[in-house]
Symmetry: C2
Subunit: 422 residues, 2 copies
């Protein structure tokens, strides 16, 4: 530690992010675990795969068979809830800020419909001057916009409302958030075509899945930045993401980005769908419930280390994670290694834009003692990610949705990492 003591920036081993800017943090890692090729070690063993040609180009690529451990976690199927459930993105195994399409989280209410776009229609009706129906070939001709933005299920991290800290990883606790380049037609353009009646205040969106998943959103949001998305990371939506089309509602809880979109109806009042009455409401301590709490709050999580990881040796590590906010950009992420007593500002890079995931990192020297690692994000509106105590004092512990409080990975003296409450 002595040689880096001038680089300490907060308690319990946090080091200056200047170490990340082209300097050799890696030097320690390399010298700790790399072998030096001396004169006697220069005789290479040629691996088998270098000795004969492999297969040629292919029509559609797949991951390496050596990465089969990197998967979404779809949990166990519930026979009483056919097709229902969620799968979680393996955030602790990914890098950068784009989620590849095969690993974007899922949440279904009646499974994934196998939609033939030739038989699919999108209808706009209700309080409009003329009802319109679009087929896929109509919509594909429209001018589209593209944005790299996160999508988060409002139930993400919800287990942290409970009294006992859930055991888990960044994937199992926080894996209902992903980020992609979404490309689609501004909804305002389609609504312009239909002609919005001045009495209309709400827009109801309904999916073609067997649950007829429906949500109401205020017309003001629909006319602002909502799109009818047809493409994700360049290619047509995957079936589990709403192929052939979905609503994408930037910065709001994932459930309102209705998949397999088949109807948009304008009305004076919200539709009071099942999924905005029995679910996706926030129950407060007095047992009243808030409806239509759409925006996702400012949030950050540490993805490395992550629960169940085992630090093998004392020395330099990189703390890294993801931050996002439904209100705009991430302007700052701070990290604490001592349970929130002292904080240091992390380096933020790879933030593609407004409402995209941002990746942060900070070097940390683990000296073998117990540590409590926490991150805290601030967004461009000035909002600061709350502590769990602050969040619970506001929302009580009957809530489940919109958990955006700081989360703590405890590292014990054996190097084992677990989710803990501070």
């Amino acid at each position: 530690m002595a040689e880096n003591s001038d680089l300490a920036v907060a308690g319990n081993g946090l080091l200056s992010r200047r170490l990340l800017l082209g300097l050799s943090l890696g030097g320690a890692a390399a010298s700790a675990s790399s072998s030096l090729l001396g004169a006697e070690a220069t005789r290479f063993v040629i691996p088998e795969w270098s000795k004969k040609p492999g297969p040629g180009p292919s029509a559609y690529g797949q991951p390496s068979p050596f990465t089969t451990g990197i998967q979404r976690d779809p949990g166990r199927a519930n026979p009483l809830y056919p097709g229902g459930g969620a799968s979680r993105t393996p955030l602790h195994q990914l890098r950068g800020t784009i989620t590849p399409n095969g690993l974007h989280f899922e949440r279904h209410h009646a499974g994934v419909p196998a939609i033939d776009p030739a038989g699919h229609q999108l209808v706009i009706n209700g309080l409009v001057k003329k009802s319109l129906s679009f087929n896929y070939d109509d919509l594909i001709r429209y001018p589209m916009v593209s944005r790299i933005q996160f999508l988060e299920c409002s139930g993400n991290s919800g287990a942290l409302f409970r009294d006992n800290p859930p055991d888990g990883t960044a994937q199992s606790i926080h894996g209902l958030v992903s980020c992609a380049e979404w490309t689609g037609i501004p909804l305002s353009v389609l609504l312009e075509d239909a002609g919005v009646d001045t009495a209309a205040q709400w827009l109801s969106a309904v999916g073609a899945d067997a649950a007829s998943m429906g949500r109401s959103i205020p017309l003001s949001k629909a006319l602002d930045d909502v799109i009818v998305a047809l493409f994700q990371n360049g290619e047509p939506l995957r079936p589990e993401q709403g192929y052939p089309m979905r609503l994408f509602v930037p910065g709001w809880e994932g459930n309102v980005s209705v998949k397999w979109l088949t109807q948009l109806k304008l009305s004076r009042e919200p539709s009071q769908f099942r999924d905005e009455t029995s679910k996706y409401t926030d129950t407060l301590a007095d047992r009243s419930s808030l409806q239509f709490t759409f925006p996702m709050g400012v949030k950050s999580i540490i993805t490395s280390p992550s629960g169940h990881m085992q630090l093998r040796e004392q020395g330099l590590y990189q703390i890294e994670g993801l931050a996002w906010s439904g209100a705009g950009r991430i302007s700052k992420v701070e990290v604490s290694a001592d349970g929130g007593n002292s904080w240091a500002e992390a380096l933020i890079d790879s933030q593609a834009g407004d409402k995209s995931l941002a990746r942060f990192r900070l070097p940390w020297r683990w000296n073998g003692s117990a540590a409590k690692l926490i991150s805290r994000a601030t967004d461009s509106s000035g909002a600061i990610q709350p502590t769990r105590t602050q969040l619970l004092s506001e929302k009580g512990n009957l809530a489940f949705y919109h958990f955006n409080a700081q989360q703590c990975w405890g590292v014990d003296t054996s190097g084992l990492v677990n989710n803990v409450y501070v």
Copy 2:
């Protein structure tokens, strides 16, 4: 046309990009091809897929079976060149600027090696203070950076050097360019660990494929912005993109971003590998050849319309395409519908940053007469994409690599689109 005549911005039907900014270009498309739901048409036919639950969440997602027409084109295998060849990205079928990992173009010299990362090593040697060997687990601990950047094969569009215009689509002519978020370790950090000898001027990179594909790059570039990439769009590299690790050399011809990277050797002179002598050199009109012509020039292509497309009716269309430059950002794209006699500036959006693909678009009204559609990009260095005549006057027609000239889609009076020379 009369109602839009005040929006004309260049000859032969090009209209103001203001039409794309939230105004209803789509109105025409919808009224042309959408059915109106009258009172008698409101009885929906419920599709089969809405009647019963579908399958639940899955571990790794795949494209819809209804998008199997969207594939890379791997061409025919050549028995004399096992594993060799290329596959091309279906640019005319994608939107946005990210290329999904399954559709990123490929170029192999001896096929795709099936590398087990546990048996793979990256060695740095030659003119360094100490030779180093890294295994995958060493490298995964290093701090990484992420950038969304294009990769283009220097042979992309090379058929356009030939005397007769090749028949083809945006995919078959230009499909050796793609764009992804690349995440990896700055090469400067690894070279710092090894300690660069002051005599070193070049770095040779060699892959673990059966071709031992090798390229030399100047050390100045290696220390600037080159990374050892381990992740692509968030997940580990696909095998055909170099799993477990590749060099990524921003803005330079794709061949130097050596895949399956296993050795980096520093030296005074370039290694004169086969692929920088017999290939990847630019033969001039006097039959001398230029070596080490690394940077990819400023370039744009129209992806819609694309060759072999058939315009079905007169009316509003959107011309859209992609632009990029090895020198930086795209600052302007202009479009002509009359073979270059008049030009209008397109709208650029979705440009993630320096050396990323940029998407442009401009509305166009096709009046049924013949048209010649061309795009022309300008980059942040001020470089302007040349005409084919200008490029050939500089490079002759014996060259094959680094074709970045303007390309023209001819539209005949039947609406059929074909590659033509102006």
